[in-house]
Symmetry: C2
Subunit: 318 residues, 2 copies
């Protein structure tokens, strides 16, 4: 059995991770996976999420704990462990840092959205939310498109500046602009990715702001969370979600559905894009991701295969 | 974070493990634990069991996979990984071999049954089933009582002989007798522990065989599994189960209840024995264990504390 740390996972190329995310959608298209509903276990104010998923070759169980009070002890509120096992024999193969797998796969989910829902000559993009996931999304924009300018928006300008400085070292050819004004960012950008924990739309409900652009929402994983105003979904020519049933857990989908500003038929599974790409010229696109255990499974499988090949990770004898 | 292997766990004293099992019953008595129902996830012919449990200090999740076809690949059908975490901050603290924790704690559950349900001067005991768990039960009998003779019964006499040879090295003062005739074993023994996967009672339904003895059933974890004839439960002065609700999953409890050969009120929680010991003189006792995640939690917690103290295990950097 192998232990694969955050550091190991961080060294893996974006190409490998994004291909693994693509593989997840292919399994959805071929219906060759088994993903039970994620299981919520409560203990006082804390939550343990258990996310099992099976492919023909492997199965993975991600354990995610959400401890809101951990910050009082200077610890992260969210922790994760992922166990990858062989789906022929049941033998455990690897233990991985679940938070690192989540961070990478979520970046790549956005990245694949950029790849399939923005023109190849995209020049200016904006990230709303300068947290860990904002940084990961930025890296995947820059992996998929040769943009000239990246806007970074956060109410905390220091966080936005810090993220710009990190990216400057990795991608010095890009111009970085930081702002605490999201309308300014949306006005200037052709692609907008939001990775926040916002409960209210991050900019005003103005069709003029959104037309002809691509919007990707990575936050808003609960019905009372919303990153984009209704103008995004109601003006979008193409609306995609990573998982049709789970996306209804997000306020960015359930609120417009409830208000009937969007027809349910307009919302399509992202996997269908792999089978049949759409015309993007002058189109407005919206992609809402809520994540799924199948991404963890295909990314962990790819990480494990690479670890075997390149002798990565720490050996554990059971 | 620590990785604690089967080898490490095997080195831990029986006293520590059995005290940890006792601690689980104390938590039951004080109602200071949270044990959600175990979760069964199916994938074709295979099963993944997820067993989370919380105490004030720690929480543990045991993942057990049951792959009946693994034997075709010369692999064990059952595998397990246990993740122990801090219940203040949610931080993962240790990964352990789940099968090793299960094997040890199940031995100690029987051991505590021996301690509280057999006279101190017990001389002759018998084990039905010479598998991994039979061996573990034997070690815990020998830890709790200075017996002179141990009967080992199995339809496969070679397995029984092999187990006798292993025990002879560890406990040379004991006489070992092997048999494929369980009536002979029950007739000769004052304590009988069964650790089999039998679907039918292992000996005949004869009150004369059972009176004045102690019976412990470790197998029969499903409604269609049964180790003892009804004469055991119907003649028993004391009937205990480790978990009142889950014991009804065992044929050794649900079949006699259904046939009304026992009143439900006669079946008591083993934890009550800790609060109030019972008179054992010339009494017939029956203890049915089906196991519970709380045992895994308290044993894993004790293993972790010892590992920290004695610098056991392999360090993992997340």
């Amino acid at each position: 059995m192998l232990f694969i740390s955050k550091k190991d996972i961080g060294k893996i190329s974006q190409e490998i991770i994004q291909n693994a995310v693509k593989k997840a959608y292919e399994l959805v298209l071929n219906n060759s996976y088994n993903m039970p509903d994620r299981i919520h276990v409560g203990d006082e104010q804390n939550t343990l999420l258990l996310m099992p998923c099976f492919s023909k070759e492997f199965f993975a169980t991600k354990l995610v704990s959400v401890f809101p009070d951990a910050v009082k002890f200077n610890q992260p509120a969210v922790n994760g462990v992922l166990v990858l096992a062989d789906n022929k024999t049941g033998q455990p193969l690897a233990i991985m840092d679940g938070a690192a797998v989540t961070a990478e796969r979520t970046g790549a989910v956005g990245g694949l959205g950029v790849d399939l829902l923005t023109p190849e000559n995209l020049e200016i993009a904006g990230i709303l939310g300068a947290g860990v996931q904002g940084l990961s999304q930025a890296r995947y924009i820059l992996f998929n498109r040769r943009i000239s300018k990246l806007w970074i928006g956060d109410l905390n300008l220091k966080a936005a500046d810090k993220m710009a400085r990190i990216l400057e070292k990795e991608f010095p050819q890009v111009t970085y602009v930081t702002t605490d004004n999201s309308e300014e960012l949306v006005t200037a950008s052709q692609l907008i990715i939001a990775a926040t924990t916002s409960n209210r739309p991050l900019f005003k409900n103005d069709p003029g702001l959104v037309k002809g652009k691509t919007f990707i929402s990575i936050g808003s994983f609960k019905p009372d969370m919303k990153e984009f105003p209704d103008a995004v979904i109601s003006n979008a020519d193409h609306v995609y979600v990573d998982t049709l049933f789970a996306a209804k857990e997000s306020g960015d989908i359930c609120i417009p559905l409830e208000k009937k500003v969007v027809e349910p038929e307009k919302i399509k599974a992202f996997s269908s894009l792999l089978a049949k790409p759409v015309c993007l010229e002058n189109k407005t696109c919206f992609f809402k991701s809520v994540g799924m255990a199948l991404f963890d499974l295909t990314v962990a499988s790819a990480v494990y295969k690479l670890a075997l090949k390149e002798k990565m990770g720490q050996k554990l004898e059971f």
